[in-house]
């Protein structure tokens, strides 16, 4: 019909758009780099915080896995009347005969006995230490070893000999085991055979003075009832099956008076818990991102002012307002993206370096890097919106003839 119909509107082809939107970045590199820096710092902070938190969690979980998640503990709970529901003396033997139980070892708390460095220490200064009778193969089950000296054996279990948990040794002021060293336990001297390393899965052992069952009965009037039984399921996938049988097996007369727990699950829950500091650092990262966005917006506005003649020329060459808008919006998005990519790289590097020194696996959650990139694109777009609109609104005559 009319000749206007022959005029079709042209969109820029992608390579042309890419070339146009990098004009500002290519011609003013330092400025582009500095304005992208704010976003880079923000993204780096966020990626590093999320990455470090995920890596430390992965490290802790790896440690827990190494210690074994097949450890179960059975302890005496409360009886119906509120007193302690004693585990039967036979409980350890019964449990070790459950199919699927690899090994069961027990400790029995001596409620009346306290341990002191010397008899002259006031009896109220117990340091919170407990004295427990222990079975002889306890250490492999709770995944710890002897730090110094020796553990109890069939001979020393009969005699007034004690082994100290890691924290107990520290609290009693014993950092070195020498022959003839002794402590005052339940009103008599016990010789020290050794000190244990910390038991991560059974931390109660750490603040315990360990003595043999026969010695406890002979010297301290122990009744022989175990208070906690540690056991390992043969395979990790049988933990639940074993778990279900434990209460009834340990105390057939009063299964409800038995507490069964899996120590590793508590640690896993602890590993999952986010550090309160994470929130703070994420907040700081968000502030840096905001400042970065303001920086990009500022630079884009200046850029539009400086490039008036370029804008006017492009309009004279046939660019529509939408072409100009798209060009400047894409430039701002590219600036943001540049900051985002650099920020992710920095964050990943920081995480990798720190995780390496801690011997953790480097874990960068997908949402951290993908979110960082996405956030930087969105920030670029938002920051570039007003400058792009201003550029598009610029009248070509003013842009070209008022330079």
């Amino acid at each position: 019909m009319t000749a206007t119909d022959t005029l079709s509107r042209r969109r820029l082809q992608l390579p042309d758009l890419a070339r146009l939107s990098t004009v500002g970045l290519r011609t003013r590199r330092l400025r582009a780099g500095l304005s992208a820096l704010g976003i880079a710092i923000g993204v780096a902070a966020i990626v590093a915080v999320l990455g470090l938190s995920a890596s430390s969690q992965a490290g802790l979980l790896a440690e827990i896995n190494q210690l074994g998640t097949n450890l179960l503990t059975v302890s005496n709970g409360q009886s119906f009347t509120g007193g302690t529901a004693e585990l039967p003396i036979t409980a350890t033997g019964m449990i070790s005969r459950i199919s699927g139980v690899q090994q069961a070892q027990s400790t029995g708390a001596l409620s009346g006995a306290n341990a002191f460095r010397t008899p002259y220490i006031p009896s109220v200064d117990t340091n919170g230490l407990t004295v427990q009778a222990v079975s002889l193969n306890l250490l492999p089950v709770v995944a710890t070893t002897v730090a110094q000296g020796h553990y109890l054996n069939t001979a020393t279990a009969q005699e007034p000999v004690a082994v100290l948990g890691a924290a107990a040794a520290q609290l009693l002021g014993i950092d070195h085991v020498y022959t003839g060293e002794r402590i005052w336990v339940g009103g008599q001297w016990f010789y020290i055979a050794g000190v244990l390393k910390p038991a991560v899965l059974a931390s109660v052992i750490d603040s315990t003075i360990l003595i043999g069952y026969p010695a406890a009965e002979k010297y301290l009037g122990f009744d022989g009832h175990p208070s906690t039984i540690y056991l390992r399921a043969a395979q990790t996938d049988r933990v639940n099956a074993v778990d279900n049988l434990l209460a009834a097996t340990a105390n057939p007369e009063n299964p409800s008076g038995v507490t069964v727990s899996q120590p590793s699950s508590a640690l896993v829950a602890q590993a999952d818990a986010k550090s309160a500091l994470n929130g703070l650092f994420l907040g700081l990262g968000a502030v840096a991102l905001l400042v970065g966005a303001v920086g990009v917006a500022n630079i884009m506005i200046i850029s539009v002012l400086e490039r008036r003649s370029e804008i006017g020329l492009r309009r004279a060459l046939g660019a529509t307002k939408s072409h100009i808008r798209t060009q400047f919006l894409c430039e701002a998005i590219l600036l943001g993206l540049l900051g985002g990519v650099v920020g992710v790289a920095l964050g990943v590097t920081a995480t990798a370096v720190y995780a390496h020194t801690k011997h953790w696996a480097t874990v960068i959650p997908t949402e951290a890097w993908a979110g960082g990139i996405a956030a930087s694109i969105i920030i670029g777009a938002v920051a570039g919106l007003i400058p792009a609109l201003r550029a598009a609104r610029l009248s070509p005559t003013q842009a070209l003839w008022s330079v």
């Binding site: 000749a3 206007t4 022959t6 005029l7 079709s8 509107r9 042209r10 969109r11 820029l12 082809q13 390579p15 042309d16 004009v23 290519r26 011609t27 003649s309 370029e310 006017g312 020329l313 492009r314 309009r315 004279a316 060459l317 046939g318 660019a319 529509t320 307002k321 939408s322 072409h323 009248s395 070509p396 005559t397 070209l400 003839w401 330079v403």
Partner: protein, 283 residues
């Protein structure tokens, strides 16, 4: 970099769209009908008052006037960079007032070439890409734009240095690049705003000679200047003062346009066989 094959129709059709229609219908390249332009203010500034002007294909028109006479406003209206307060501007028969902004932009991309006093070249881009940008918004692939740009550079005598940067060129050479950019799309009309204003006398002469040569080869060119000496050299002179056209020498004697205008025939744009305004010039 795209590898889109060049469009099959030749560039004349692409660049000037319905070029054939202009010829057959005798539509002038530029038709300004009772155009007024005023700028808001207290009192409003009347930059142009009821200006009538028709320019046929192949003309070289010098518009001369002192500063403030309205010649730049006239150029802006002819270049569709601004719209008149009243009256009609038709480019190759298309009434700008009835067209959407996007369509006017496309009209500029394909049918109007601009030459500015300040050249307005992109310093970071090569000479070739500066020229190729003249077709950037015409919807043509980069490869083809560069081919056309090389042809246009040959036209202005700069074909040897397509990969130089504008900063490595002299002022005259820069203006030649800008002229090549204006010509690369083979527009229906080229508007030159004081093209020698930033150049010394000798360089300005060479640019004017180039413009004259392009005119001889068939391009329609409007040359805006404040310098009567320059306007004296154009076949058709229009004097503008206080927003009025005070003198118009009319289509030049001896030209095809003049002959047809006198005979009452449509004004016809002469074209070479290839559609290119000129091909033998190389220096």
């Amino acid at each position: 970099m795209t590898h889109t094959p060049p469009p099959t129709p030749d560039i004349t059709t692409v660049a000037t769209g319905d070029g054939a229609a202009i010829d057959s219908a005798g539509v002038p390249v530029l038709d300004i009908d009772c155009v007024t332009k005023s700028y808001p203010g207290e009192p409003p500034v009347q930059a142009l008052r009821e200006v009538n002007l028709t320019i046929g294909a192949g003309e070289l028109v010098g518009i001369v006037g002192p500063s403030g006479s309205g010649k730049t406003t006239l150029l802006q209206l002819m270049g569709t960079l601004d719209r008149p307060t009243s009256g009609r501007v038709r480019i190759t028969g298309l009434d700008v007032a009835t067209m959407a902004d996007e369509d006017v932009a496309y009209l500029r991309a394909t049918r109007i070439g601009f030459i500015f006093q300040q050249f307005f070249l992109a310093e970071h881009a090569t000479v070739l890409d500066n020229v190729a940008d003249g077709l950037l918004y015409a919807g043509i692939s980069l490869k083809y734009r560069r081919e056309r740009a090389l042809d246009a550079l040959e036209l202005v005598g700069l074909a040897e240095r397509p990969h130089a940067r504008p900063t490595q060129l002299s002022g005259g050479q820069r203006q030649r690049v800008a002229i090549a950019r204006a010509l690369v799309g083979e527009p229906a009309i080229v508007l030159a705003d004081e093209p020698t204003g930033n150049l010394d006398q000798a360089t300005g002469e060479s640019i004017l000679a180039l413009i004259d040569r392009l005119h001889q080869a068939g391009s329609t060119i409007v040359l805006i200047t404040h310098d009567h000496a320059i306007a004296e050299r154009t076949p058709r002179r229009i004097e503008i003062l206080d927003g009025h056209i005070v003198a118009d020498s009319g289509p030049a004697v001896g030209t095809e346009t003049r002959r047809r205008a006198l005979a009452g025939q449509p004004i016809h744009k002469p074209q070479t066989a290839s559609g290119a305004p000129v091909s033998e010039e190389s220096s």
